[in-house]
Symmetry: C2
Subunit: 435 residues, 2 copies
């Protein structure tokens, strides 16, 4: 009986797995060098945990399940609620600052689309307990450090940075009441994602007063820090938020990634929980979804029953990133091909000698394979090539008698005959990182 | 609102994550050097896929869920059905031999016990399309290669090897009818897991005929290959199976892991689908569950709608292994502690200089951190120690003016003043494996 995979999931055959590992390993490497420590939580949590952060509408987008005890659980659609739960659980014992990363596998019960699957991986970095904007800059720097490391340049991707705090203060100064802010955020977040006239129409529906509407439209069109500075009065509530974003951009300049970063008031982020700097990374052409997004969320730990501790973070999924890297040719260039250090080829009956050699090579840390088929030397060498072997060890009855082995360099084709014991004593097990 | 984690799941705080990474990375390293390629499948599959392999009773042990389209899905309790599905899907296109490994996250809706959680990781290695017993030996060698690599010795763990084919032939020769075999396997599998008298009683219930019972009991007590040879007639159906297991043990001897391996007729494996060599690894003391198990399953691909292709494999969970490694002190000895290459400490106001240095170090591949608190040098050095920094870079206004930096070796306490540019040009970005 043949059964298909579930729609919106992926099978990772070895070549696909090599791409996934390349992406995940890159995320981990950059996280570690930026001083983050790795954590993870369970694949499922209590369903109500996700309702706390995202409201009841999230239930629609979750894979939910019931355990034997009748408890309502859900496959995690994001790891931030788990992070908040874990940090709150051990808040007093954890060494500070909490500077953590994770690469969780996440799930969304949505209709699969380009760059959006039901099952995916997401790189998360978070710094908890530091409220300086410098730390928002560090989150953004770490994001760019990865993008740059994987070969993307400022001409390929842009970090668009804005501030929820600034937006809230500006909208308040224009007379928008507090209770209207959230629904307005949802519309403003669509600025870069919709045609200009559609956006203007939606905005007009939200803001009936013409004068206020004009002010908001004007603010949303300013995309340079100096221009923004002209608009904002020193001493106003907006001014502090403006200074924050200025400081973040200046720090990113200092850190050498200023050419990736721009101020963009169209970055609002739909979610209600952001409280300060927010940002997204987009491909320069702009035909893909956001590559990642993040920002400051100072109230989340408290919402999960913990203390009022500030936090800032970023999440980057693997699906859109992989599409972009493929488009730019960066996967073909960089994803390592399968490779074997040694392939052992046998001529005639040499008993168990080949297995003795293979076992010894592997124990010393070298990858080694052998053909399971009975076939001539040329067939075995072909199999060695197919597995991308660096070298072939060739043994026949003659070599066996003299305790020698032939070594063929698969790149140059050169072949030499060496003593078996000298060969092994000459091998350096340290170079491959074994103990 | 405070919400607990779901029972039987684990939170991986950074020290727990370090242990998990140590185990998973060890599995991956040993798989690669033994010539396996990595694959993975989705976390959930159609529920019926698991029923094909394990019957309807498996449904009880699964976390099942229904998607928006009303399809019955289940979180994977094992990856072998996914492996069979994936191989069948691409059977003609896949390069042979198929020698694959995976480290899937798996789920069982059971009551959590010591060494058995509802969510765990399992190392899987499989070789598909080769029916020689040599390949069963290779699966066992790879298993031992890991155990030995992680520091376990023959005094700590034993690979107990047996053969379903031998057992079937022997039982048939004793007159046990085919349709009784499966229920008898389930009882025989309990030999090492129950007190001797309980086992004998259960066996007697299965085998009413006294003479047959005596023969089976005798066979189940033979635990050496030479003794086994005396019992079995050359030319009989059992003889071929006996020769196979002899060959496997001899190959393991050749490969240098013979002292880990013994013949043990008590290894039967409960699952119906094994067809040849079967094995389990147990701790020598015998107070833990099996560390891993495996064997030949030549019919599974066909059962999943594919061709009749032979297969052999092994699965090792992380829970029992972690308990054993902890007991032996092997985690304390080997799991790497968190470590930072450089911690940048500032004296007085040096503006953005610290961030410039941090960014440069990270971009070159070195891990680097800074204190987010304002505090004196001694407080910063303490924080550097807490993060296990190798070196501290110390900069004050004086150093800044002269373009110098202080470097403090945190192990020796030695400190030197060097030019900032000379420091960076002297750093070798290659040593840390960055591009």
């Amino acid at each position: 009986m043949k059964i298909p995979p579930v729609k919106g999931t992926r099978d990772f055959y070895p070549p696909d797995m090599a791409i996934r590992n390349f992406i995940v390993d890159g995320w981990k490497k950059v996280s570690l060098r930026n001083g983050f420590e790795e954590y993870d939580g369970p694949i499922f949590e209590y369903l109500k945990m996700y309702q706390i952060k995202s409201g009841d509408e999230i239930v629609e987008q979750l894979f939910s399940l019931t355990d034997r005890g009748g408890r309502d659980l859900a496959l995690r659609p994001e790891i931030t609620p788990t992070l908040a739960r874990m940090v709150n659980q051990q808040i007093n014992a954890l060494p500070k600052p909490i500077k953590w990363f994770s690469v969780p596998r996440l799930f969304r019960a949505e209709r699969p689309q380009k760059g959006r699957l039901r099952e995916f991986f997401q790189w998360n970095i978070d710094i908890i307990g530091v409220d300086q904007p410098l730390v928002d800059a560090e989150i953004i720097f770490t994001t760019v450090d990865y993008l740059r490391n994987v070969g993307l340049a400022p001409k390929d991707v842009k970090v668009k940075i804005s501030s929820r705090k600034l937006l809230a203060a500006v909208l308040k100064s224009y007379g928008v009441p507090d209770e209207k802010l959230e629904s307005l955020y949802v519309v403003l977040d669509k600025k870069g994602k919709l045609p200009a006239d559609t956006f203007e129409q939606m905005l007009a529906e939200q803001v009936p007063d013409k004068e206020t509407l004009a002010k908001i439209s004007e603010f949303m069109q300013i995309d340079s820090i100096p221009e923004l500075g002209e608009l904002i009065d020193a001493g106003s509530e907006e001014f502090a938020a403006y200074n924050e974003i200025k400081e973040v951009l200046a720090t990113l300049e200092t850190m050498g990634v200023g050419d990736f970063c721009i101020y963009d008031p169209g970055i609002v982020r739909g979610l209600a929980y952001y409280t300060g700097i927010v940002f997204e990374v987009h491909d320069a052409v702009g035909d893909l979804r956001a590559i990642c997004g993040g920002g400051r969320y100072d109230n989340l730990l408290r919402d999960f029953g913990g203390p009022a501790i500030s936090a800032t973070g970023m999440g980057m999924g693997d699906c859109v990133l992989e599409i972009l890297l493929k488009e730019k040719g960066l996967l073909d260039q960089q994803v390592p091909k399968r490779q074997i250090d040694y392939f052992v080829a046998c001529i005639g009956d040499i008993g168990n000698e080949a297995w003795r050699i293979i076992a010894k090579l592997r124990s010393m840390g070298y990858s080694a394979n052998i053909s399971y088929k009975t076939g001539g030397l040329s067939k075995q060498l072909k199999e060695a090539s197919a597995q991308n072997a660096n070298k072939c060890i060739i043994i026949g009855e003659e070599e066996l008698k003299e305790s020698k082995i032939g070594i063929k360099d698969m790149a140059t084709g050169e072949q030499e005959l060496v003593g078996r014991d000298e060969f092994f004593s000459g091998l350096d097990s340290a170079v491959v990182g074994t103990e």
